[in-house]
Symmetry: C2
Subunit: 290 residues, 2 copies
């Protein structure tokens, strides 16, 4: 059996690195093989699954330094037939890549805005006057590198190897404990490809909107979780895009959707929310440094 | 009296437009005049106030479509001696700016990532194959416009007028109710320049971190507000940058910091939080369409 997996491309992005790890893990465990399908945006990776062009997508959710990947949250809210199968946590180590022999003379640095933000201290220390130019992905930054010696890019050392480009400095992130969490997403009715039917999932993710002009509604909803002793590991708000001050909420619970206390919470939430989506119940897999 | 106000530059950005509105309002009300000081980033605008290079900064906090401006939240958390004086809510209308005579033949569109995201539906409808290139500000996008007829930029119509560039289409945002909220920020001990000592501020903003590995702590803290019947108009989480799953929280209360119930809430919060910052008590000024 061969399945297809969408991810933010071109090859060499951190999303592709996470997808490669997942494929190796899946093949070793189940014999299922997979082909990777790069898409130009995170939204298009998720739309590919919704439209059944691929079976899975691997998308970034959250970075420990820069926070939520809002494109992922907004697209998951818009699309109806998707569910989270698994979470992957991957350490991120950025490399400074250039054809120059030294940092002297570097005038322009290209990278994805999240990567530029995660290295801003290093850039201010070593290249205080450099021009920073955002790109759609870390790999696109490498493609902008010209042979001339005044430009550089920030991407993974794996990407530098893929494109045969020299690394001038490694591990340049300002915080060594830099991790990104990814979700493996499938269609709603899909089997779980790892063949471990979730007897006990460690996490369940929800998204909901509350009726307009009801400040304080969130507090009432959070009390539901507190009373049922359900721990929340994350809460994120996103605008409804209707008017300023109206929000959607994304919540990760440390509990399985099938537990009785979670079922009680969901019944209670249904009464007080406008739209309630269960995004999935899943386990978390840690990717060792690569 | 003349004061100086930092904002994201160059002139023509939405932050500058909000600052110009604030200056006109302030001058009319108090006679105080102001000079505007453009800075290359939001972080540098706030750092200018902290370092006493300017008296005020006007910074974007949140857009109704694209959500929080994380750079503003993270910098306010890092700097210690700042306070919010006033909130400004400004409608945002994007224009499509190019030297071309029509949309045919446009191959590249430059703009700030927030503006590109706010017009993605329009772009997909009229220019589905165009290349989108992010820039550090909407004004920088205009500076990238060449005389050649294959490039365009998204910025305000005011910016197009400032730089004497033609507008090909107006109001191209996907959602007509597009607003951005700005904060006017001063040093902590500064007088309120509008000379209305906040007898009753409508909003108070807080930021706090909770001790590590304490999921559910947020629920306990939110119960404090619920029990004291303090409405929250916004709650945002940001990573602590220490490790994945550890968050700071930013909360906007619909109450004045001087009210007894708010004082009770703050006393309670001090016990359960690691660091608690009161970012300011302030009123909200709506900017009419400009």
């Amino acid at each position: 059996m061969t399945i297809s997996i969408a991810h933010l491309g071109p090859p060499g992005t951190y999303a592709e690195q996470a997808a490669v790890f997942y494929v190796n893990w899946l093949t070793e465990k189940t014999g299922i093989e997979a082909i990777l399908c790069p898409y130009p945006s995170i939204a298009q990776s998720l739309q590919a699954v919704a439209a059944r062009h691929t079976q899975l997508a691997v998308v970034p959710v959250e970075n420990s330094i820069e926070g939520s990947v809002t494109m992922t949250m907004d697209t998951l809210w818009q699309l109806d037939n998707l569910q989270i199968q698994l979470a992957l946590v991957m350490p991120i180590a950025h490399a400074f890549i250039s054809c120059a022999n030294s940092l002297d003379g570097i005038k322009t640095v290209y990278s994805h805005p999240q990567a530029l933000a995660q290295c801003q201290g290093w850039l201010e220390q070593f290249l205080p006057t450099v021009q920073l130019i955002p790109t759609n992905s870390t790999t696109e930054a490498l493609q902008r590198l010209e042979q001339e010696l005044t430009t550089a890019a920030i991407a993974s050392s794996r990407a530098a190897q893929l494109y045969k480009l020299p690394i001038l400095a490694s591990n340049i992130n300002d915080y060594p404990e830099n991790c990104t969490r990814f979700w493996v997403v499938s269609q709603k009715e899909a089997q779980t490809f790892d063949h471990t039917p979730s007897i006990h999932a460690t996490h369940t993710s929800l998204a909901f909107s509350v009726p307009a002009n009801l400040p304080g509604a969130l507090v009432k909803l959070l009390q539901v979780f507190a009373q049922l002793e359900i721990n929340l590991s994350r809460i994120e708000s996103r605008p409804t895009k209707r008017s300023l001050g109206e929000y959607l909420f994304f919540i990760d619970m440390e509990a399985d959707a099938s537990e009785a206390r979670v079922q009680s919470a969901l019944a209670e939430l249904k009464i007080h929310t406008e739209v309630l989506k269960i995004l999935g119940a899943y386990n978390v897999l840690s990717i060792n440094a690569v």
